[in-house]
Symmetry: D2
Subunit: 284 residues, 4 copies
Amino acid sequence: MNTTVLLISCPDTSGIVADVAGWVSMNGGNIVHAEQHTDHHNQMFFQRVEFTHDGSRDLQFFKTAFGPIAAKFGMTFTLNELPWRPRTGIMVSKTVHCLSDLLTRSRYGDLGLDIQAVVSNHNDSRQLVEAFGYRYEHIAVGDGTNARAEQEKNVADLLDSLNLDLVILARYMLVLPPWFADKWYGRMINIHHSFLPAFIGANPYRQAHDRGVKIIGATAHYVTSDLDEGPIIEQDVARVSHRDDVAELTRRGRDLETVVLARAVRAHVEHRVLVWNNRTVVFG
Amino acid sequence: MNTTVLLISCPDTSGIVADVAGWVSMNGGNIVHAEQHTDHHNQMFFQRVEFTHDGSRDLQFFKTAFGPIAAKFGMTFTLNELPWRPRTGIMVSKTVHCLSDLLTRSRYGDLGLDIQAVVSNHNDSRQLVEAFGYRYEHIAVGDGTNARAEQEKNVADLLDSLNLDLVILARYMLVLPPWFADKWYGRMINIHHSFLPAFIGANPYRQAHDRGVKIIGATAHYVTSDLDEGPIIEQDVARVSHRDDVAELTRRGRDLETVVLARAVRAHVEHRVLVWNNRTVVFG
Amino acid sequence: MNTTVLLISCPDTSGIVADVAGWVSMNGGNIVHAEQHTDHHNQMFFQRVEFTHDGSRDLQFFKTAFGPIAAKFGMTFTLNELPWRPRTGIMVSKTVHCLSDLLTRSRYGDLGLDIQAVVSNHNDSRQLVEAFGYRYEHIAVGDGTNARAEQEKNVADLLDSLNLDLVILARYMLVLPPWFADKWYGRMINIHHSFLPAFIGANPYRQAHDRGVKIIGATAHYVTSDLDEGPIIEQDVARVSHRDDVAELTRRGRDLETVVLARAVRAHVEHRVLVWNNRTVVFG
Amino acid sequence: MNTTVLLISCPDTSGIVADVAGWVSMNGGNIVHAEQHTDHHNQMFFQRVEFTHDGSRDLQFFKTAFGPIAAKFGMTFTLNELPWRPRTGIMVSKTVHCLSDLLTRSRYGDLGLDIQAVVSNHNDSRQLVEAFGYRYEHIAVGDGTNARAEQEKNVADLLDSLNLDLVILARYMLVLPPWFADKWYGRMINIHHSFLPAFIGANPYRQAHDRGVKIIGATAHYVTSDLDEGPIIEQDVARVSHRDDVAELTRRGRDLETVVLARAVRAHVEHRVLVWNNRTVVFG
């Protein structure tokens, strides 16, 4: 059996659930998982419907056939097949824990990424990446006045050339310019090493230590042109104490960053995430 | 608008979701929340559908009208109205933390219990219960050969006389006989002070200490005739260390027991729990 | 046996631990628990030493006898007896969950508070407080130009008259003026309904909802004249999702606030908290 | 400066802390971290003292010099230097997540293991291990009557030949015979995929699913001849629901196993763990 996922956003009204369920049934599909959410404050309706079918109708057919329902309710929708193996680029700077975790999961089956290349402004993780058999591109920031802009251009060109579905910033420490972020909107996931919105910007573990918090966190979010303000996909936290200095917070935070990023990527790859109003609906 | 909850269990097959959604729509309802679960291993389908309607049709009407759908798919189903204020009896022995929490929540709105009486084999919490304005019944175990059986009979008779929907064992420390448990099957919730199935039986905090665990827990479950083996509704845990002796584990466990029981009761009162095969489906 | 707690802060140097241990031993004490912390970044040393003794020497004796050690190392120190039952005032506005929890714990032994009065700008919780047998003072904000200042003065005068060791703001929703906060510095604990420093100020659950966070929190801290910026004693968090609207976040947050405040108060009452540089050292 | 760790177990009595602190001071050491624990139930005292010194005295000197104190109080003690890079063997079967994590941490600095070899009864992870530059030994179970015993003998001989300080069972799925476990007592750490003592033995995720628990866990413990009954070093848990089938529990459990094992190994490597009475004291 083939599996297809329908993601819907539209103004809330009555009858949507029945019409969608009827449409799936009428087109030879069987709903194996459906979850909906109504944002009563904003009068918006969201739904994820996962249905199986015999494959005699393809994605293009479903997209066309769903048109009338979408028009009736003013829906934004996507239709995708499962499992999805997105062509993926990973960007990293010096710390390798998130990168290493993504490589391991991709090679040993937990995350179905089709990794095309790892891009870095440093050369530190080349050996690791090549040991896993993936392409490594070192694009450093040079010395000239426009060095940073040139590096951004080179990275952007490389990503373009790879025909990617997804870019993961696995502790890439250079801030991307707005045009770059805009270009990949909804297809670029970053891991930030704090429980946003606390400790936006640089050195969040230093900030956390100075404020004396008893809990640290990590946040995976879609990248937007507004730094650290993109829609949050996943967060998690760990308890710390006065004994933990900045180095120890950093070390403990690594385990958080690793799993939070992996969970966010997985939700994205399984078409579980809808973005609306700079927030996410993450279906279970 | 009125709100009605439909809970369904049946063998899994195709078309159920569409038929149910169509039925709700046809009968003037609008689905505001729906969640389904398929147990692929056992080929079972479960669904919770919450729908609003104008109240022109009552619960009895819906129960009758749903008959053909239920027959078609071999469904077990319930239909209930929200909010539900179940007539509730609370049973307690000496420790008051769960009891006090339930009283506070019921008086101040978090849990819509219609508390009819608190029953105890001790008299310790009478003042607290009466301060909240509820009836307190002290039914002690006497001295004779049949003292325990007599006490059980007296408690059972009292509960019968109260015409209850729900009984909560809020740290009631006497084991109920099978006939008593069977009688209240699916309507009696107990809090056990361990993360079941670890540490079944008496003195779980002593057992936890002796085994040297680093995490303790609490479990709320429906009572069955098989002690501590009933369907689990909710669990939570807390980190402990070698520093915590049995008294400290007991103290820290109280906060767990309190919230775990309250969450389980709330899920039950909102008709979110389905029991099947000694496990629960708890809809979100 | 009597139990005494010594809390020390001083510049870090060698030999402190040995000298303190020797002093306790020499004065007939036996160390039953000792924990130290060195802030290497700031070159500061902190220690909590709990020792038992036969009671033939009183607190005043120990304070005098410790003078030379304190002078040698430039120490700030306190000496206190355990258990401590601080004369406590509780301030509350309308929501009762923290208040009710503190009352229950104080009556049933988990927290050794000697509650002198509950003060509120509303009258909502009078019945609850009086049912527990405590004094309730309703000090409302009046209508005049200086109504707020007058109310603050009246509350301050009442607290003064009660000869208190500790004031707990158990969801007191009026911001205290700096002179009030300064007066109670280190002796007034507040519960804030967010994981500070995220969502400072009003309506943190509304802010959390709008930012789309996946985790909410609560923070207990000493009150300072800088709103929501005082030293953090304890924090905890809970996972939420897109399904949780502001009302649901508020409801779920209540359980967090309750336990976080109780834990912070307990740490304070057991002389486990040292404040330095607007951060706390909370000994285990 | 050199750093040395003293670990002590002895019957509880008065004066120990002062004598130990005095001894360190007298021998040119400065205590930078000290933590003690008294098991009042069993009248046992435990302490970890970390002290710096100028290196003019070596470990052997300290061991001899501590003799009189140890004799006075009937102490069992160890003295070790920090950082410690134990010669380590890792045993694994087919699943690689724990192995991959340990390799990454060892290569990139989080855990100071001096990995000598990875031993497996399967050949699946050879490529991964060799990509990291470590030795891989495939010792399969053969076909004869004594195949299992022979394989155990071969593994034991290999471990012996490597002169190891530590063996980590990173999801090694063959039960070791008692003689093997006894031989490595206190120097062999296993990760079990449940929150022990729940779900001892095979297929814990299947057991967890069948019991319908709402929380799963992982446990790192020292291996003893009593299967899954060794002293627990670290545990952690994750929330699950009815939606999670055995495959999903297994997948989610992997992240738990990975971090729980890494934390336990780290505590061991930093000489933070004392075993007594089949329980551990894990100093912070």
